[in-house]
Symmetry: C2
Subunit: 373 residues, 2 copies
Amino acid sequence: MLPGPTNVPNRVMNAMLAPIINHRSEDFRTLYKSIIEKTQKLFQTESDIVLLSASGTGAVEASVVNLIKKGDKVVIPVNGEFSTRLADLIDSWGGQSIRIESQFGENPPYEKFEQAFDEHNDIKALYAVYNETSTGTTIRYMDKLGDLCTRKGCFFVADSVSILGGDELPTDKWNVDICITASQKAIAAPPGVSPISISQKAKKYIQDNTSPILYFNLKRYFKYYQEHFETPFTPALPLCYAYSEALDMILEEGLDRRIERHRQCADAFYTGLGSMGLSPFAKPDARSNLVIAVNYLPGIEDKKFRDILSNEFKVLVAGGFGNLKGKVFRIGSMGEVNKYHVMRTLSSVESALRMLGVEVPTDSINKAMEKFR
Amino acid sequence: MLPGPTNVPNRVMNAMLAPIINHRSEDFRTLYKSIIEKTQKLFQTESDIVLLSASGTGAVEASVVNLIKKGDKVVIPVNGEFSTRLADLIDSWGGQSIRIESQFGENPPYEKFEQAFDEHNDIKALYAVYNETSTGTTIRYMDKLGDLCTRKGCFFVADSVSILGGDELPTDKWNVDICITASQKAIAAPPGVSPISISQKAKKYIQDNTSPILYFNLKRYFKYYQEHFETPFTPALPLCYAYSEALDMILEEGLDRRIERHRQCADAFYTGLGSMGLSPFAKPDARSNLVIAVNYLPGIEDKKFRDILSNEFKVLVAGGFGNLKGKVFRIGSMGEVNKYHVMRTLSSVESALRMLGVEVPTDSINKAMEKFR
């Protein structure tokens, strides 16, 4: 129950055993073309798709090093580990981040973004971490940010690593120019490949831009796909097979049903945990359906609690990052998550709390179960 | 029989099916630590090792973006696709390449390097592509280049992507500061992870250097390994399992025996092909034991020849790059290659040539076979 890498279905794991083929062959072209087309459905986009053989961090970096030039102003909401890291990367690459900060667990009011654009008339891009894995918060006005960027003529980049495939993200409808995710979160494939979509507007800009980098140089990916349906560099083939199979499973389930399943599981988690007396770390309007971050009760020690969960119940949850270390635990509710995972996790949390001397109401599990009826 | 990705033994493929574990867990630390230690044996080094989740191109880029600053002079022999690409990358990153060019298929005389150092007293690094996959040439004086760099106090970087594990490369003995390879060549694992060794001297320099990049930022990898035996970003876990298994197979065989096997197979290839009237593209003192590049006989059409090999005999060989397209074909003789692969390939080449109307002597296969006695 980690917030990534998530459990991978056997069907997806076994897909990795397909033969190692030449990535300059018709067999590979057929595979890669189908991966691109299925990814477009997952992203709900007609934009170009590039599959990078790298983790999500690499794909996020690709969005910076191809788009941002020295001195470019970039608006970015910052309220956790991953948004901080992204803002730092923008600055170290030579961009000039305009950070809209808020308390961890909260998102800034939307008006702050309009203000930033009022104060600066030369903003190049708005980057937003749609789901902040470190705090379990999701930005619920991504559509409005997209509209704002369209009105202001700037690029809108969505770091959707830990959410795409598990919550709403109609890339084109929301005017996302560059949308980034990774294989090992809500998509439920093994880690190591990261798809990224690039709008025509962003593509045109990137084509004219000169970037000194090679492995994440999107121009090369555009060229190789256009000319050969290939990748410019050797792809991580077994992970491409697995990702392709995971996409099949997503499309078989249907994106809407998949998102509804995530919503329902999150609802059950928040209900059950709340009933046990545990409060979510995130404010109500910012709560993630994929990462459930929970405040520890006073006196409960992080390591002891998670050791019980892990050793006695074989349930793995994550601790907190940085300042939140020891203060919260985080449950990944994504990918293949279903009622069984939720109920088993809740019942283990309940038992662990009792073992640590906490009085827990006896109806928590029932209340969570109701959410599945 | 491609010059990478090469065939992967079932034992290595099956290793990918091990469970997806948390990369912030003791299980992963144990795995990663053992990967690093085994890689040190493969590289014959006591240097730090970093395993990047990326293809060889990504690892080569890491060696540039961490080490080279704007204006740094870099000596580099250029005689093929990959050495050209590397020299271009050095320049686009802001370095100043001093290219020692030679005809494709030949290496420049060693004296040219001494001359370059005589002409410039502020050379930062010497980069050399040890095995140029595009032309089937290997630099046979890497040890002397290492000595020269040590004497001149500059860094020695060896792009060993298509050779390490299949030919001599005692990293420490040859004074290689940064040595780079990839999983899918002579190591015979699936593509997607790339190990790189960094000497204490290079590490110290990199620690003090500021580089604006993130995913290939070696400083982060040093820190995470030193503090936790972890990688800073989510690793491509199934490929780590596979790479680890491939390392076990290499160490079980023994590096010396493995190198001797590669040498023997190459010897048989050159002998058999030569006996058929086919000449190697590379000059005798530059011939690779891992990539056998062969000139086409006049009148033999590349596509037709390779189609016969592929369709009738299920033997895949590669064509030429760029200017060499249509002029040469290339056989990968690396990884798990053994007598069976060599003989089957030679016999298929012989038959394909006959089908295309070439008179081929009838004793070529026997002559090759003798090399295995």
